[in-house]
């Protein structure tokens, strides 16, 4: 459905040293830095998949979304989506995709949201009955009823984002690109957006490509993660695999009957020690929970314990660090 082969894109960014002298010099001669935003990206995405696209700021996520949605022309490589090359057959191609850029808006600022939707109906030439069905379904699922006749400038960010997502799906596209759809949203709105993406993916067999910095989005929505850094793909596979690879320790919190002297155990660091509560970091490549509990139990009267895997954020940070990005 979506196939990218060896896509690359370089941007030239004007460079100059600081200060007035350099500024004056740059009037006559400019120097450029060449930044490889994409350096040979290849992957394949099948119909009905949800793919999480992650990477630090400036890794090339948005650039590849823009290539796939026909906005940018890459310097090299092949891209075939639904049988089209996005930047060559732009006008025919874009009728099949929906796009949400979380940091921008596609709705009109001054007019009620419903008017913006009607405009999209005319732009995509959606037949009246299909439009009505689509709109009813989206308004219902995203709970737009309360503010659909309000001008965009008067709705909250969470409401706006729900309207943006509805706007991108009115023409019943086959692929949905979501570029940071949960940016700046509160917990309730995030949950609503995630739930909706899941539902629509299941109901319409919609293919979803999602970029985000919020790992909870990824965990809630998808199993396949493409990690991109410095314009290259560093990992393409399940979240579980990444987790497994970087899952090198457990945080073990124990509560016990008062005990003054800290208890040291093998292959574990004490992160904090109080007279009734201690936190250990276990190196699970060299020990395991039951061994740790056994040695703790021999010295302490354990009342309770919690064992936690490292948070996804930390895993991802570890991953970025390992790849030097």
């Amino acid at each position: 459905m979506i196939t990218l082969a060896n896509i690359s894109k370089t941007f030239n960014v004007a460079r100059r040293a600081k200060g007035a002298g350099a500024a004056f010099k740059s009037l006559f001669r400019r120097e450029y830095n060449y930044i490889k935003a994409l350096d040979g990206i290849s992957f394949h995405i099948g119909e009905g998949e949800i793919v999480g696209y992650i990477g630090p700021n400036g890794a090339g996520k948005s650039t590849s979304i823009k290539v796939m949605s026909g906005i940018l022309v890459p310097d090299g490589g092949e891209c075939e989506i639904l049988g089209y090359t996005p930047w060559k057959d732009r006008r025919k191609f874009v009728g099949n995709i929906g796009v949400v850029f979380g940091q921008r808006t596609q709705l009109w600022w001054d007019v009620p949201i419903a008017d913006s939707f009607d405009l999209l109906r005319d732009i995509y030439a959606i037949p009246a009955d299909a439009y009505k069905r689509s709109l009813d379904m989206l308004a219902d699922a995203l709970d737009l009823g309360a503010f659909i006749n309000t001008p965009l400038r008067q709705v909250s960010l969470g409401q706006r984002m729900r309207a943006e997502i509805a706007a991108s799906l009115l023409h019943n596209p086959k692929i949905l690109f979501l570029d940071e759809p949960t940016i700046g949203l509160d917990a309730v709105s995030k949950l609503a957006v995630r739930q909706f993406i899941k539902t629509i993916n299941a109901e319409r067999k919609l293919t979803v490509i999602l970029t985000t910095h919020d790992m909870n989005d990824i965990e809630a929505l998808t199993n396949r993660v493409i990690l991109i850094g410095k314009g290259r793909i560093l990992h393409d596979g399940s979240m579980a695999k990444i987790k497994h690879k970087f899952d090198s320790y457990r945080t073990l919190t124990v509560t016990f009957a008062p005990h003054d002297a800290p208890v040291h155990i093998a292959n574990a660091d004490i992160i904090s020690w109080g007279c009734e509560r201690a936190v250990y970091r276990l190196d699970i490549s060299r020990t395991n929970i039951s061994a740790a509990l056994a040695s703790l139990g021999s010295e302490l009267n354990i009342l309770d314990m919690i064992s936690e895997s490292p948070p996804v954020e930390e895993i991802i940070a570890g991953l970025y660090k390992e790849h030097g990005i």
Binding site: V73, R91, G95, I97, R104, D122
Partner: protein
Amino acid sequence: MKPYIALFRMRMIAGMQYRAAAWAGAATQFFWGLIFIMIYSAFYRSSAVEPPMRWNQLATYIWLQQMFLFIVMIWAQDNELLRHVTDGNVAYELCRPYDLFKIWCARLLAFRLSSSFLRFLPILIIAFLLPAQYKMSPPVSLGAAGLFLISLSLGLLIVTAVSMFIYILTIITLSPVGSRLIISVAADFLMGAVIPIPLMPASLQRVLDWFPFRYISDLPFRIYSGSIAGGDALFQMGVQVAWIIGLFMLGRLSFNKVMRRVVIQGG
């Protein structure tokens, strides 16, 4: 054709929302018109030679200029569209199944018409009710009125085609300030918005005939007041059409060229 008409309608709705701004705008233009007329009346009274424009023709020229300000002035531009270009929102427009050049043309036309709709009527009524000294005159004949409307519409197309270059330059420089200022200051003078063209020296007038700007407002206004009529008027309207074709073709070429290397930064 439907998306272009739909967008035109949408821009009209959005443009007509700000009624207070329209009333304030009408008042401003009314006072501008009065000030211009008073200045010229001082010149006319102290002039020893026969001026090249009759007084009532000049007053009418000034009132027409104020009335159709948003149709004829290059500095009047769709700020929202310029903002879309500079902040990258144009990314969305690139993922729509339409021709962006045509959409922008529809949008600019709607912007100019919606801005004028709310302003021209109050000025028109007041300008006719003023004392004889300052008053606007009706068109010299019914035929002149018809030609005036056609020629003003053609002028609107020229101003839209010229405006397109401001947007194209903004795509490259990412700031509308420079291109807008340079083009609009030059155009203001060359189209006769600073000094009506009939009052300029004959040699300068001959030079201005070779630029598109005079055909935006000077020609329709003079057809209205009868100082250009008959075959001459028809010939100059032909020149308008030629400029429209030429400018739109050039605009289209530059637009396509710029769009191929567009970069949307950030986010």
